[in-house]
Amino acid sequence: MKAIILAAGEGLRCRPLTLTRSKVMLPVANKPILEHAIYSLVENDIKDIILIVGYEKERIMDYFEDGVNFGVNITYIEQKAQLGTAHAVKQTRDFIEPDGKEFIVVNGDNIIEPKTVSDLLDGRGGDATILTFKMEHTIGYGVVIAEGRQVKQIVEKPKADISHLVNTGIYLFNPKIFEYIESTPLSDSGEYAITDALQQMIDAGLEVTMVPTQSRWLDAVYSWDLLKANSTVLDQDHTSNVIGTIEEGAVIKGNVSVGNNTTIRSGCYIVGPVLIGDNCEIGPDVVILPSTTIGNNASIGPFSQIKNSIIMNDARIEAHTFISNSVIGSNNTIGSHFITDEKDNLKIEMIGMLHHADRLGVITGDDIVIGHRVLVKPGVLIGAGCNVESGNIINRELPPNSTVV
């Protein structure tokens, strides 16, 4: 069976992290979100993958190459204009239709597990099957109205909780879908939506079914949702694999992974779940507390404490820093005595609207240089390429490439 993964969009609401890469390449449990999708397909023996790419496609291609390292065979198709999910799937028609076989469509920016995919495969029926996820409050999501397994209607972002079955955007189709994609009209939001094609199938009397799942299906809508996704996956997957060097006098508790060529120096105290990548130098005397992931090629200086945070690749963090409930983008150089303040129930402005965040420190984009003794107030977003000189207190969002003297 072939699979199409939609990975062309930017993920605007995950800025500033998506200024330099698309949302599918953001790390959850030290792996790009997209890798979770690919792994879930491989485990279900689906190895022929068509990746629809667009925004910052090179970052995806550089990481996955032809897929052999991930046990799959990847064909890349570029969606030049991002005109919606139906338009994306339409690009694959020449690759899919000649087989005349069923195929699966997955959103590259949701975090899933193998069971999520097998739930769909085991429960499939009719000409199209939609995987749904049961949720209490579904405002803001696309939902499915069904009688038993039969889908009656698909509603995009309803104003009230009219159904508890959220459309996961994971589908099983047979090639008939292409006919309906061809006749799908442009929606009010200026896109060709696959849900409109499905609605047309329903209206034409074809059988569209749904399978509810309670397996992993996480959606990081905003950059700060990554922390929740990260901690959930760490809690569920129990990964513990120490390859690097742990010096005498360092304490490791719980599920902790330490990558190749990484050194954990004496006096460090690490409490899992924690993942640390390859080529890192941690410590001496660094405290890393649960639900923290550190990417590759990072160094963390002495007497620092990090908890419930995502530190991406190539970070260089000096001594005496305190980082909590924060996402630090890749290639950040952070001076000593850096402190992230944190707070519950924040309102954060993004794209002209206020959004809620549960508990958050800071989010920093890529390639940021921060001097010594800098304090960042809760919920502050720092754009890619910013330069903050020593001694500053940052209390509002910084646009990309700004300098704070």
Binding site: T20, L51, V53, K57, E58, M61, D62, F64, E65, D66, G67, V68, N69, I74, Y76, E78, N260, N261, T263, R265, D278, N279, E281, N296, N297, S299, N313, D314, R316, S330, N331, T333, D366, D367
Partner: protein, 615 residues
Amino acid sequence: MCGIVGYVGEKPAASILIDSLKKLEYRGYDSAGICVLNDSLKTYKTTGKIANLESILPEGIEGTIGIGHTRWATHGKPNTVNSHPHLSGDVAVVHNGIIENYLELKEKLIGDGYIFKSDTDTEVIAHLLHSHLYGGIDGVFKLCDLMVAVQKTLLSLEGSYAIAALCSSDPGVMVVARKDSPLVIGIGDGEIFAASDVTAFLKHTKDVIFVDDDEVASIRAGGNVEFFDADGNPVTKETIKIEWYIEDAEKAGYEHFMLKEIHEQASSVQDTFAGKISEMEGAVVLDELNMSDEQIRHMTRIEIIACGTSWNAGLVGKYLFEQLAGIHTDVDTGSEFRYGYPVICGEVLTIAITQSGETADTLAAVRGARSYGCRAIAITNVVGSTITREIDSVLYTRAGPEIGVAATKSFTTQLITLYMLALKFARIRGKISAEDSKNLLVALKKIPADIQKILNRKKVIQECAKQFSDSNDYFFIGRHLNYPIALEGALKLKEISYIHAEGYAAGELKHGPLALLTDKTPVVAIATKGHTYEKMLSNIKEVKARDAVVIAVADEDDTEIEKYVDVVLRVPKSHELLSPILSSVVLQLLAYYTALERGCSIDKPRNLAKSVTVE
């Protein structure tokens, strides 16, 4: 300079040979051919790339044993007659290398009645094989096996060769042999592959045996291979598992290998230093160097030998060894060194830099240097390549296979290796403090992310390339460590965009080249911050005074330079000694986008081949 392939197995040989040849196209591509054995020999050959050959092949060629060749002409023009395989009666042979005594052999064979169809040196091998098999042009009875005929033939050959031969009266057997040209055997499941380079058959197997000089192998259907040395004694060979994966040799969504390989530098650079540096201790660990501290301290001079892009890397090495470690260093091209009269002795360390490990001139030069009792180390990218078997120690760059003819990631990973080596020497010789060494390593660790930053902003470089893509000439200038980078920038541009380009030490401009500058000549000035920055600014003014267009490569925080130049291409701020790595990535992208704009054949530029295994 050519590539050979062979297949003995159960599948139709033709399509496997074509597939393998495509992987070897980087070795040359002016003509190609295959020969498949099925009762009789069926030969197909034509000029041009492998795709041309593929288009003339009929459907369903039967036969599960065959040989193939992609050619880069040395003897005789690139035409169909001169392309391989070459035949003599029912014998077919493909060959990579040069038979030096072929004129003499040819005369004798003509005397024996053999008729030559081509101008190649290879055809003598085909006729020699035939004469040993049948006793002469009119012979009808087979006098010996193909294996024996090959062994007899090799006795009269002088020069270099990797050959594969078939004979229809000895069905089910392929015989291969090598001397001074690369040859490797792939062991599959019931099938055997032979090729000039492992990339040809990596898709089918990762278990390989490297054929050594003067060895002959007989390969039979069913997966049997027997090796013999020059005296005909059986040899037991070790099977090696290749770590490269086949996707490394695919374009993975990119339009060209070169762009893919430019992008891969962020990770290949990191792979090259991973596990070899300790930031906290300011130390470099290079166990594979196999040199005692005593040896490092007593070294009097370093002699770097390399060709092409590797030579440019070597020149960077010279500045590093001299500045960091205080060791006098010379850089020579392989082709000059081998015919020179080198003044060297035991205390001189020779460093050979070759991506492929097969560069004929570099190999010959290193053999020469070692004959004076010099210790020699190699910096190479290919595990198991010829140089790795002939040298005291090997430092591997971890670039992975490089397919684009224009070297990119091999250059930057060579630089990384040279930095580590220079730093190691400097520490042991007490020329650099732990603190300075640490600072350099901290900056080195940042290089992968800095490269990624350049890649994120490549659109600016593309715009610049577009703007000047119509130019007929380009100049590249730099000082100190940026001088080799200017040379490399010019080399990249001329290789793939066919624009005449020259690199100069910026201070040399006024001694001649300044006369060539007009308002139509872009001058790329590498002006990252360092102790020669002020001097570079005055050189830029000198150039501007002649109305030339100046494109500067400068630090991202440099606000001074934009006052003097037309376009600024930014590199992330790095250590003065390391910024050349970043500047070279910028110049690679400039060359790539210029060639793209001009519609050039980027991965396979005309007249060039990837690894030059001929003199």
